[in-house]
C-alpha cells in the first residue's frame, strides 16, 4: 500500500529523506575503504545492509510518481542504487512517470527479463509510450504474452503521431446501453472492484459499439433510478477522433472544463477516451519543450547527464548562431575602412544591433503566442504592421534620441549623435517589420512559427543593424 501524499510539497520531504539515507550510506562506504581490516569490513557491510533495507522500506511506501521524481533529482550513481531497491513489480509504473532522458538511464541498467516483467505490468496505452525506448526483443516477448484485444489497443495507440489524441488516449472506461434504467446501471457498477480513474461519465453505446451519448455521473446520481439511460444521457457533447491534434483537444478541455471525452473512429465506434490527467501532462510537457527550444535545447536534459549527451543536445543551436554571427561579422568587415577612420563606430555599433534584436524578439514572441492561440491569421497582417511600426518609431526616436545625445557628449560630434538616432530608429523599424513578417510567412507556408523565429530575427537585426549604422556613418560622416 503506497503512502498517499498529505501536502502538496511532501515529495520534497521524501527527496530530502532519501538523500539523507544515501549520504549515510556513502559515509559507511567511505569508512570501509579507509579501514582495510576484514573484521571492520564485516561490521560495516552489516551497517551498510541495514541502511539499504531502511531505504527500501522508505521507498516502498511512496507513490510511483514520487519515486520517479526522486530518481530524476538524483545523480547517476545514487539513482542506480535507488532504482535497484525499488520492488520489481513497480518498475513499469515508475518507468512511465520519469522523463525520457532519465528513463534511458534506468533502462540501461536492466536486463531483458527485468524489462519484459516491467512492460507486462502496463496497460496498452502506457506500453505504447514506453515502446520506443525498449529493445525490440523485449517488445516481441511482451507482444506474445498479450491477448487479441490488448494487441489491437497497442497497435492503435502506437499508430498515431506523438501530438495526436490517439497517442494520449486510454482504453479504460465503463460502457452502458441506453435502454436500461439507472437502477440497473447502479447495480452493474457495484460489480466493479473499482471504477477507472477519471470516470466522470459513462459511455452509452449500441450493440455495434457505436457511441450514442454520454451519461455524466452527476446525472446518474441526481435522477430517479426508474429513469432510462436514454432519457437523460447527453447527446450534445465533445467527441474526439484519434487523429485530432492533442493541442486542440487540450484547448477544448480548458475551455469547457472537461474531465474526460470519448474518442471515436470514423464510423462513430467508441475507441477510447481522453482524460484531463493526460491533457495536463501534455500541456506541461509542451510548455517545457517550448521554453527549452527558445534557448536552443533540443529536449529536456537529464541535469546529471554525461558531458557528451549535453553537447549533442545543444550543438545545433550553437552552429546556427555561429553562422549568423559570422555573416554579421562579414558585414562589419565590409566597413573596416570606415571604422579605421572613426573608431567610435566600433564601440557604438553593438548597441544598435542589440536593441534591435531585443525589440524584434518582443514583437515576434507576442505574435507567435497569438498565432498559437489561433487568434491571429494572415488577414491581420496590415493592422499588426501598423501597430508595430508605431511602437518602434516611438521607441526609436525616444531611446535612439537619448543614445544620440550620449554619443554626442562622449565623442563631441553632433553628427555622430544624429547618425546614431537614425540608425536606431531604422533598425527598430526593421525589427518590427521582420517581427510581423516572419511568423505570418511561416504561417502561410504551413510551418510552425515558433520554430527558429527567434534566430531568424536576431540574424536580421544584427547584420541589418551593423549595415544600417555603418552605412549611414560612411555616407554622412566620412
Amino acid at each position: 500500500m503506497s503512502e498517499t501524499p498529505h501536502h502538496s510539497d511532501d515529495v520534497q520531504v521524501h527527496l530530502k529523506e532519501v538523500q539523507h539515507l544515501l549520504a549515510r550510506q556513502k559515509l559507511v562506504e567511505g569508512l570501509v575503504h579507509r579501514q582495510d581490516s576484514p573484521k571492520h569490513e564485516l561490521v560495516e557491510t552489516i551497517v551498510h545492509k541495514q541502511h539499504l533495507a531502511e531505504l527500501a522500506e522508505r521507498l516502498e511506501k511512496l507513490h510511483p510518481a514520487d519515486i520517479a521524481y526522486i530518481l530524476e533529482a538524483l545523480p547517476l550513481d545514487e539513482r542506480v542504487i535507488v532504482w535497484d531497491l525499488v520492488k520489481a513489480e513497480r518498475d513499469g509504473e515508475i518507468l512511465i512517470e520519469v522523463s525520457d532522458a532519465v528513463r534511458e538511464s534506468l533502462i540501461e541498467t536492466m536486463d531483458q527479463a527485468e524489462l519484459v516483467a516491467a512492460a507486462e505490468q502496463l496497460d496498452a496505452d502506457e506500453l505504447a509510450d514506453l515502446a520506443p525506448d525498449l529493445p525490440s526483443q523485449v517488445m516481441e516477448d511482451v507482444y506474445l504474452g498479450m491477448d487479441a484485444e490488448e494487441r489491437e489497443q497497442l497497435r492503435a495507440a502506437m499508430s498515431y503521431p506523438e501530438d495526436s489524441v490517439g497517442a494520449l488516449m486510454d482504453f479504460e472506461m465503463v460502457t452502458v446501453r441506453e435502454d436500461v434504467t439507472l437502477e440497473v446501471v447502479l447495480r452493474y457498477l457495484r460489480l466493479f472492484d473499482e471504477l477507472p480513474d477519471h470516470t466522470d461519465q459513462l459511455m452509452v453505446v449500441d450493440r455495434k459499439d457505436r457511441l450514442r451519448g454520454v451519461l455524466p455521473i452527476g446525472r446518474l446520481l441526481i435522477n430517479d433510478p426508474e429513469v432510462e439511460v436514454g432519457k437523460i444521457m447527453l447527446t450534445e457533447h465533445l467527441t474526439l477522433e484519434p487523429g485530432d491534434g492533442a493541442d486542440d483537444a487540450a484547448k477544448a478541455f480548458e475551455r469547457y472544463d472537461l474531465v474526460s471525452a470519448p474518442v471515436v473512429d470514423t464510423h462513430y465506434r467508441l475507441m477510447g477516451r481522453l482524460t484531463v490527467a493526460a491533457v495536463l501532462d501534455f500541456v506541461r510537457e509542451q510548455s517545457e519543450a517550448e521554453l527549452l527550444s527558445q534557448a536552443g535545447l533540443k529536449e529536456e536534459e537529464d541535469i546529471f547527464a554525461p558531458v557528451f549527451d549535453s553537447i549533442k543536445n545543444r550543438w545545433r543551436w550553437l552552429a546556427t548562431n555561429l553562422v549568423t554571427a559570422f555573416i554579421a561579422s562579414r558585414v562589419i568587415g565590409a566597413f573596416e575602412g570606415s571604422i579605421s577612420k572613426l573608431v567610435a563606430l566600433a564601440a557604438l555599433m553593438p548597441i544598435v544591433a542589440g536593441i534591435g534584436g531585443n525589440s524584434g524578439n518582443q514583437t515576434i514572441t507576442m505574435i507567435v503566442r497569438a498565432i498559437a492561440m489561433g487568434q491571429v491569421s494572415e488577414e491581420h497582417g496590415r493592422r499588426l504592421f501598423r501597430k508595430e511600426i508605431g511602437v518602434s518609431l516611438f521607441n526609436g526616436l525616444v531611446w535612439g534620441g537619448l543614445l544620440g545625445l550620449i554619443a554626442w557628449a562622449l565623442y563631441g560630434d553632433w553628427r555622430l549623435g544624429v547618425v546614431m538616432t537614425a540608425a536606431m530608429t531604422l533598425n527598430l523599424l526593421l525589427a518590427a517589420c521582420m517581427g510581423v513578417a516572419i511568423p505570418l510567412t511561416m504561417l502561410r507556408l504551413g510551418k510552425d512559427p515558433a520554430l527558429g523565429s527567434s534566430v531568424l530575427i536576431t540574424a536580421c537585426t544584427d547584420s541589418g543593424g551593423f549595415f544600417i549604422f555603418l552605412g549611414l556613418a560612411t555616407f554622412f560622416l566620412l
Copy 2:
C-alpha cells in the same frame, strides 16, 4: 441553451462565421456611406439590422468560453459590436473567461448598472478574480447585495495572493457526515438539481465542519448501499491549505492525477476545494507568462491594443538592455586604441560575445527549469559546474578552433587565429560559470531564478566577451 461543442476545433469555425457576418456588416455600412439618398439609407439600415440579428442569434448558441475566445480574436471596433450583441445575463461569465487585457477593453464600454448586473451573476470565487478590474463603486453595490456567507467567501478568496491555492479555490462542493449509510447519501444527492462541476469526491465533515475524510464517487458507486460512509471514506488523501503555493498544488495534481482536492484552514475546517479545471488554467497561464517574460513582455498583450499600451508593456526590458549594451559599448571604448591599430578586431569581436551569450542561455535555461521542478538544490553546484565547464571547454576548442582557422585565413595572421580561439574558449567558460552561478545564487537569496537571469548572463558574456577578446589581442598582438 448554449450549443455544446462537438469537435475540438469547432471554435475556429465559430470565429470564422462571426468574422464573416461582421465583414458583411461592414460592406453594408460602406454602401450606406457611398449612397446618400435617404431611401437607400432606410433599406440599408434594415439589412444592417437583419445582419446584427443574425449575429446575435449565432452568439446566443455559443458557449461563454467560445464567445470569450472570439472577442479576444477581434480588433477593437468589431469586438465592441459583438460585445453589445451578447445578452446581458451572460456578461459575467464571459468577463471571467477573457484575458486581462481584453477584459479591460470590454469593461470600458460598460456603465455602472451593467457592471453591477454582470458581477451579480458570479460566484464568490469568480467575483474575486474580476474584482481588481471593477470600479470600487460597482464592488460596493455588489457587496451590499450579498448574504453573509457569500461576503465571507469573497473576503476569503480576495485575501490570498494571486499564486496561492486560496486565490484559485471555489466553494461549491457536497458535504456528508461519516455516520450515515451510502443509501442515505444516494437519496440526499437525488435532492440536488445538479452536482457542482468536478464532483469526483464528497467531503466528509463533522458537526464543526472539520474535514474527516473524502468519499470518492467511485467508492460510493461500487459499495453496498448499507455500508456507512465512515467505513469506506479515504482518510489518507491530499489536503491543501489556502496559503499553499498554486505551483506546488498544480504539481501535486499532475503527479497524483487528481480531479479535486479539499482546502482546509489551520483548524482543519473545510473552506473550499481546488479543481483540476482551475489547475489547468493556472498551468497554461503560468507557462504563457514565462514565455512572454523571457522576451521581456510584462504581460499578455491584447494583440490589437493601442500603440501606447504596447509601449508600456515593453519599455522596461528595452531600458534594461540599453543599459547593459551601453556598458558593453564602454568596454569596447576602452580598447579603441587597439581597434584603430588592428581593425579586424572590430569585425571579429561580436562573434565572441554572441556565441558566449547563446551558450550561457542554454546553460541557465536548463538549470532554471530543473530548479523550477525542484530537482536542483545548492549542494549540486559543484557537480553542475564540472559538467558545464566540460561542455564549454569542448565547444570552445572545437567551434573556437574552427573560427580561429577562418580568422587566420581571412586576415592572414595565425596569431589572430590563436587569440580568437582562446577568447572563444574563455568566454564560453565564463558563460558556463555564470550560467550555473546566477540561478544558484538567486536560489540562495530566495529569489525566483527565472526572473532576469537571461539579461544578466547576456550582460556578462557581452561585456566579458569584448573584454577578453580585445584584452588578449592588445596583450599579444600589439
